[in-house]
């Protein structure tokens, strides 16, 4: 392969790496916007912690846990640290798509996003220490192991033989459901925020303190998805990348509309936060099959995902779980939907593929729930995972950090 093409591929991959990194800003803004000002520093702290620790853990061993080379298909490890292989800087390394370093960094940026999903769901009441321990174990071990089953060449990728198996283009299951299951388990073990459910069990509204920031966050996430999906083509192939960007954005747009219309019908009002969550639902929904769907199918998937968001948010409230940012609805429910959609729509639709998708979603469900539950349950029974009532009422910024997010500027609380 000539140098110019290799360079072009690698440049695109590096740009996508930066875009995926940028998604952390989107998550941060979204989480801050939908929670109360008294916890803003805590939310940002958790997000920044995830960015830094996630990458370092991936460098220490996550990368080699996720791509162990030749292994039994379930668990493998090719050593601590990152070492440039012989062909690591040549077109030989990854069919000329990128260098070893780009490979590490691009994948490293994905790793941290799985933990960020959890940070939104547990906001405003989780103990910082407990969260940090959980993140280290979950991002350091669970995420790479699940990733190895598919992208690392493990058992999911060969369910149907050499060239047939589970298909998860950019991670509806491997990233979003991995985070989503942990989020679900966490909010179950943690319990709802004080005041989220009345004595009779009716869900109460706890409005976020900065809706503009939440909106900015979602638009930033959409931008980041250009890299998240665009880079999952693993080269700058014009056909692949341009199609994927189209399917991704169409699904996002349709997701927003789907959520807006359904929530307007159900609740008789125009809720911006539902619209925003719908966009994210569409993005997560297309992520498993962005390379397989036609534009029409992308729109359908988006609309369905958006509608699912509205139903899922109501359902989570109904089963008395408190999810301040809709992480379970967006990442778990739409992650599973996007995964199964690969067997229903697109180039690989069919009963065989659908069963592979079910297998992948199922294996992830079991492994992630069990590991997340174990880690969090142990932390809960030893150090405790929830702050005290007083700390929660007065704000985590004051008690966990002794700092004010808005020291010079007061917003009145309800």
């Amino acid at each position: 392969m000539e140098t110019a093409l290799f360079t072009a591929n690698n440049v695109w991959m590096m740009v996508c790496t930066a875009l995926v990194f940028f998604m952390h800003l989107g998550f941060s803004f979204l989480e801050i916007g939908l929670t109360r000002q008294k916890n803003t520093i805590n939310i940002l702290f958790k997000n920044v912690f995830i960015i830094c620790t996630g990458l370092l853990l991936y460098y220490l061993g996550g990368f080699n846990l996720m791509y162990p080379g030749d292994f039994n298909g379930y668990l493998g490890f090719s050593g601590f640290g990152i070492q440039l292989p012989e062909n690591g800087l040549t077109p030989d390394y990854a069919s000329g798509g990128y260098t070893y370093w780009t490979d590490f960094l691009f994948q490293g940026m994905f790793a941290a996003t799985a933990a960020t999903i959890v940070s939104g769901a547990v906001a405003e009441r989780i103990k910082l220490g407990g969260f940090m321990i959980f993140t280290i174990i979950y991002v350091g071990l669970v995420y790479p192991i699940v990733g190895s089953w598919q992208w690392g060449g493990g058992f999911l990728s060969t369910l149907g033989g050499e060239n047939a198996g589970f298909h998860d283009f950019a991670g509806s299951t491997l990233v979003h459901s991995v985070g989503g299951w942990a989020a679900l388990i966490a909010i179950y073990l943690l319990g709802p925020r004080i005041g989220k459910f009345s004595e009779t069990g009716k869900a109460q509204a706890i409005p976020g303190h900065n809706i503009p920031l939440a909106a900015a966050g979602v638009l930033i996430l959409w931008l980041g998805w250009f890299g998240f999906n665009g880079g999952s083509v693993l080269s700058a192939d014009p056909a692949g990348t341009s199609l994927v960007l189209v399917t991704t954005s169409l699904a996002a747009a349709a997701g927003g509309i789907g959520a807006f219309v359904l929530s307007a019908i159900f609740y008789k009002n125009y809720d911006l936060t539902m619209f925003l969550n719908g966009i994210l639902g569409g993005l997560v929904g297309i992520t498993a099959g962005a390379d397989l769907m036609s534009p029409n199918e992308s729109v359908i998937i988006g609309l369905l995902a958006g509608a699912l968001i509205v139903l899922a948010v109501a359902f989570v409230d109904k089963i008395k779980l408190d999810d301040p940012v809709g992480a379970v609805a967006v990442h778990l429910i739409c992650g599973i939907f996007g995964t199964l959609a690969v067997g229903i729509f697109g180039a690989k639709a069919g009963i065989d593929q659908f069963l592979f998708q079910l297998a992948g979603a199922g294996a992830t469900a079991v492994f992630c729930s069990v590991t997340a539950f174990s880690i969090l349950y142990i932390i809960k029974k030893t150090f405790g995972i929830r702050v005290s009532k007083e700390e929660e009422l007065e704000g985590l910024d004051l008690h966990e950090h002794g700092m004010d997010a808005y020291a010079d500027f007061r917003l009145n609380q309800h």
Binding site: G195, L398, H401, G402, D404, R410
Partner: protein, 112 residues
């Protein structure tokens, strides 16, 4: 008629509100204030630890007929207290007259 003004902890506001509703005091205003007093809060900023007695509080202002005065004060004392320094203060003053704008009633009819 009396005005009861109470400066309380923000974290106690929901309890106080509930206690007032329980004795049928349903109308009052409230706003956030910064208070200076005996309680100190520890903060840290970029390596500098400092203690401040400028602390966020909530001010409630209630105007009630005379017979509600004792129950109101007692409810607030019960609900807003934690036993720690910084629980707040209650002030009572006389109100000359009160009007309900919608119906133009005044006197005790204007507030209950």
């Amino acid at each position: 008629m009396k005005k009861v003004e109470a400066i309380i902890r923000k974290s106690k506001f929901d309890e106080v509100k509930k206690a007032l509703h329980a004795i049928d005091v349903n109308f009052f205003s409230y706003w956030d204030v910064t208070g200076v007093g005996n309680e100190k809060q520890g903060h840290v900023y970029r390596g500098i630890s400092y203690s401040t007695s400028d602390i966020q509080r909530r001010m409630i202002s209630i105007v009630i007929s005379d017979e509600f005065l004792e129950p109101t004060i007692n409810s607030i004392l019960e609900a807003a207290s934690t036993g720690n320094v910084g629980d707040g203060k209650i002030f009572v003053s006389d109100i000359q007259d009160a009007y309900r704008i919608r119906t133009r009633e005044n006197g005790t009819a204007g507030i209950n």
